[in-house]
Symmetry: C2
Subunit: 144 residues, 2 copies
């Protein structure tokens, strides 16, 4: 179902979710994305560069977070822009993996253009992993 | 090898590359990202919403493009921010898949902070797929 602009106001909170990531998922992401940097797959390499364990691809985290917005909008092609800062890595232990917490809030609604701005909050173990994660969604403009 | 700020100037072009994407890759990406929208996997569904064929996940395209910058920087964690507009989808035919062309140029170098701004150009079959795709990389700051 497409986004109904009549019911979208700044301050509206999107349904939050938790996304699980483990080594298997990182290997699958490396294959799909073509990003085979060992920092995401090789524990010893990760240790050698001072990390506590392998870390998720920043683009995996960014992608996992924006699914919240695409699902809420009801159409992945409604997301017209997206940007973020990578402030902390998602560290993925060999056993148990990691949980990424994603929430979002509408910060701006442009009723003329139908553009809705959503700011995402993305944390792992209480630590912010993405900063200023902002997605803009194109909603259908109501006929006046 | 880390980026050497002494050799980075606005106008510098990064080595361009072509990234291939096919249905198998989209299925792998759906698994890894958790984005199972049928628009990326189901030809009939894609046709039903007016698309010529299934389309790549926007985040797949965004991720595939930034690997150019991460590889150039020599360290994926050097990419400190990234954002883009999704201007056209990458249409992926069942036979043969699609080729995404990625190039990049340095547009700004801040010698004090070591921040290097790269603007990416991302096209498929001559059509721009990402707009204003900008990544910022943190280079080591040379000791004066």
């Amino acid at each position: 179902m497409a986004l109904d602009l009549l019911h979208v106001r700044p301050g509206l909170e999107l349904p939050r979710r938790t996304v699980h990531v483990d080594w298997e998922r990182l290997v699958a992401y490396a294959e799909a994305s073509g990003d085979h940097n060992p920092i995401h797959q090789d524990e010893e390499f990760a240790h050698s560069v001072g990390l506590p364990d392998v870390i998720a691809h920043g683009m995996w985290t960014m992608g996992a977070a924006v699914v919240l917005v695409a699902d809420w909008a009801g159409d992945p092609t409604a997301v017209v822009s997206y940007g973020t800062r990578f402030v902390n890595p998602v560290v993925v232990p060999a056993t148990g993996g990691a949980d990424v917490e994603v929430s979002g809030v509408v910060t701006k609604v442009d009723e003329e253009t139908g553009r809705v701005t959503v700011e995402l909050s993305v944390t792992c173990d209480g630590t912010k992993v993405l900063g200023r994660a902002v997605a803009v969604v194109q909603a259908p403009v109501p006929v006046p």
